[in-house]
Symmetry: C2
Subunit: 478 residues, 2 copies
């Protein structure tokens, strides 16, 4: 059977992590390559994961008062240039539309790499009074950045994301928003994706083009490399000044408001793969799995087996995303197939099970089997999925903590990486950009974030030995 | 109060329909213009309508076995050129990306005007056997067509839509899919948007670039102009041949499959406005209204009024999208504001109502008031919204039928339009393109569709007098 080969062909995770990753995205049918360089097709199974991510996050955004809008995908060059730092950061990596039909455009248009400039232009039009504030907008769109080297979900020329853009009367309110959205991202990653994250602030050299400060959540992948899973930016009133967004406050003064933006992308799917996947394929967190429970009939030709399986599927469908595989493929092939697809719970049901009023349940995340009574099966399945979430978060946390090392010198960092492989390095920093650069140059790890939860590992900078200002997480990043 | 002026400033619908339309899209805060020519911001209230349209249609698509995917937004010029008719139809109106970063692209990329070519390339990669069929894919994205003159929702350089693309083993199956999706569109328009539509087939000259046949639904706006509200195309195996999509059938022969595509766009929002709107603003169908019920406290400073209104809002929120306006604005201002916004049902609740255990309900679509007991209010509200749907569909159907005229000669068409204004003209046609062109040139109406429900108005072509092959709907179109 052609499909069976697929499952056999996967590269071992610890043998070649990069190849293992590519095998999974292809063989679990998440993406397919196209003739559009650096762009991909997100296939139904991959897109269904994104739809679940969208649904949950969108609910969290709306529950906190945010509204969705839709901006144009094009930004005139003249508009992009209004905020100096912003254009410097993005202009080198945008795609330019220079012709519409047969007409050469006077002001060429870039395909949005991000939409601060469009939101600002709009806000300048619609914000007049303190009564118009706050504005809490978000949009779900795709953006384009002309990357040189690309990898599915992790770095591609076009990717899907959401971008929140908000406007507030005071800096305090805007900072509170920046922090609130970072908390929402962190909660979502931990609760829905079973990925533990470190919350912190980017260093000056690493912040968003045009931001006063950038907050981020950083996760550690199975191979010890770091992945930025979400960012939230405080803009101060810089964009407002550049775009002339003003409002009349309660004292009838014309003043500038304060802004934020925040986003997560389809890169989260890459994070799921690299946090939870194993040698048998994907392992999906129940909250975002397109199929949460797969039912495999055992000896399905025997009388009554398929009927009972269908009944079970109908019962479970009211509460879960369920698939019953009635195909002619062998049970063994089906096991391998849904393991590759990362379905959190497999239920096997055969003639003997039916006789005994039970079924066999197997968790994808640890392969453990248990026998569940068919009576009250919904609650038992819910408990199994909750167990999967606990186990997956615990395993990911264990991996991260095991690969997090406190270091007190550059030599210690180098030795630590050589001995243990990649991971998070916790080390003190004086706050000087020259030291940040030197750490990277000499050890290969770059600053990931200044975590909110600080530890006093040492009193001196790991690089220059001067007084340390903060503990920083360092790592090699995707 | 600034907002009050807005409501007063709206142009009369029968005075200047085009200006009335533009007033509504601006004043109901559906869109805002941008510095990107021909593109618009869809504001929260407008986007929420689209989200409701998406949610309902997406459910209908999924219930009929369709899956969502996401294709790149770019199409290499070489790929676009593979199907001759298709490229001829679209190339003149696409936007071209010629630079990525600072690099000039060898094969320039167009921003997708539609995605047949990308789907075909993908299908060629993933379809091998009859077991891989059918493929029933859809995507929700935006597309770009470089239009010269644009109007919000009706014609813009970028617009939102869904595009279904399916592949089938046989022509019969593909045709059945084309018809099924047209039926879904028609059902959606009638049941969810309260817009009656005529189902039919486009003439040869009017079909989609690359299609064997194009089916469509045509609606008549309040001003008597026609609007194409959705299309569904049967491609035969033309695209399969151009893109070398083949599969091995059960007899082990390599054969070409058959394809379809189908789509509706944000233009549906324009159809809602122009079908149901009136001199007081928008009138929204309950199924897609962002707010279905607005509660206006009367004498809200009086003790207990706000509390009781909040209770009522909480009760209704379990089943409806509800807004309680507690602002300091006058009740009169609020009435006008939510009429402009087209909220289907207004509930007024004041001290006397509370005493009597009742509230006043006012339907947006006809302005009629009724008194509803607070006990069992959910069912009464559901009944009122259902009544609104019936009334809105009936009024729209009445308008369409009143403006539909059977004509037997070109003179009759001309006189009919002069006497009654725009509308649908039903007239016989010989099937000759020269007659189709002549009708347009001499009377100003173009063929809208050959309806599935045929009537024998005459035996002769309205233009040349030769034997008629079909009755055609003609009209002036948006």
């Amino acid at each position: 059977m052609a499909e069976k080969k697929k499952v056999e062909a996967i590269t071992g995770r610890d043998e070649d992590f990069a190849k293992w990753y590519t095998d999974i995205v292809k063989k679990a049918e998440l993406i397919e390559y196209t003739s559009v360089k650096g762009c991909m097709v997100i296939r139904p199974y991959g897109y269904a994961i994104w739809e679940n991510i969208q649904r949950i996050l969108d609910g969290m955004f709306k529950a906190t008062g945010h509204e969705n809008v839709c901006m144009p995908m094009f930004i005139p060059e003249s508009l992009l240039q209004k905020e100096k730092d912003h254009v410097e950061g993005f202009a080198p990596e945008v795609a330019w539309v220079t012709m519409g039909g047969n007409e050469v455009l006077e002001d060429r248009l870039c395909v949005r790499p991000t939409s601060e400039t469009l939101f600002c232009e709009h806000y300048a039009n619609i914000i007049h009074s303190y009564r118009d504030l706050p504005k809490l907008y978000n949009q779900w769109v795709s953006v384009v950045r002309w990357e040189k080297t690309t990898r599915p979900f992790l770095r591609s020329r076009e990717f899907l994301w959401q971008e929140g853009h908000t406007v507030h009367a005071t800096a305090e309110e805007a900072i509170a928003e920046t922090e609130k959205m970072l908390d929402i991202y962190a909660d979502f990653c931990e609760k829905s994706l079973c990925i533990p994250v470190v919350k912190g602030k980017k260093t000056e050299s690493d912040k968003f083009a045009g931001a006063v400060s950038t907050y981020c959540i950083e996760a550690l992948m199975h191979d010890g490399k770091a992945l930025q899973a979400g960012t939230s930016h405080f803009f101060g009133d810089g964009f407002a000044k550049a775009f002339d967004i003003t409002y009349t406050d309660k004292e009838n003064r014309k003043v500038y408001p304060f802004q934020t933006s925040w986003g997560v992308t389809t890169r989260l799917i890459g994070a799921i793969i690299m946090t939870h996947g194993d040698d048998n394929g994907l392992v999906l967190p129940p909250a975002v799995a397109p199929v949460q429970v797969v039912i495999i009939p055992v000896a399905q030709h025997k009388e009554g087996v398929l009927e009972r399986c269908r009944e079970l599927a109908d019962t479970l469908k009211a509460r879960f995303r369920v698939k019953l595989d009635e195909s002619e493929n062998s049970a063994g092939w089906k096991f391998a197939e849904y393991e590759m697809k990362g379905v959190p719970l497999r239920i096997e049901l055969g003639p003997r099970d039916i006789e005994n009023g039970q079924c066999v349940a197997c968790l994808r995340c640890n392969g453990e089997k248990s026998v569940l009574p068919l009576e009250g099966i919904e609650d038992a399945v819910a408990e199994k999925l909750a167990e999967a979430e606990r186990l997956m978060l615990a395993a990911a946390t264990e991996n991260r903590d095991r690969r997090t090392y406190a270091c007190r010198s550059l030599d210690e960092i180098t030795h630590c990486l050589a001995e243990h492989g990649d991971g998070f390095i916790k080390a003190m920093w004086c706050g000087d950009e020259a030291c940040e650069d030197a750490v990277k140059e000499k050890t290969g790890v770059c600053s990931r974030c200044i975590p909110f939860e600080q530890e006093q590992i040492d009193t001196k900078c790991v690089c220059c030995g001067k007084e340390a200002k903060a503990m920083v997480y360092w790592g090699k990043a995707y």
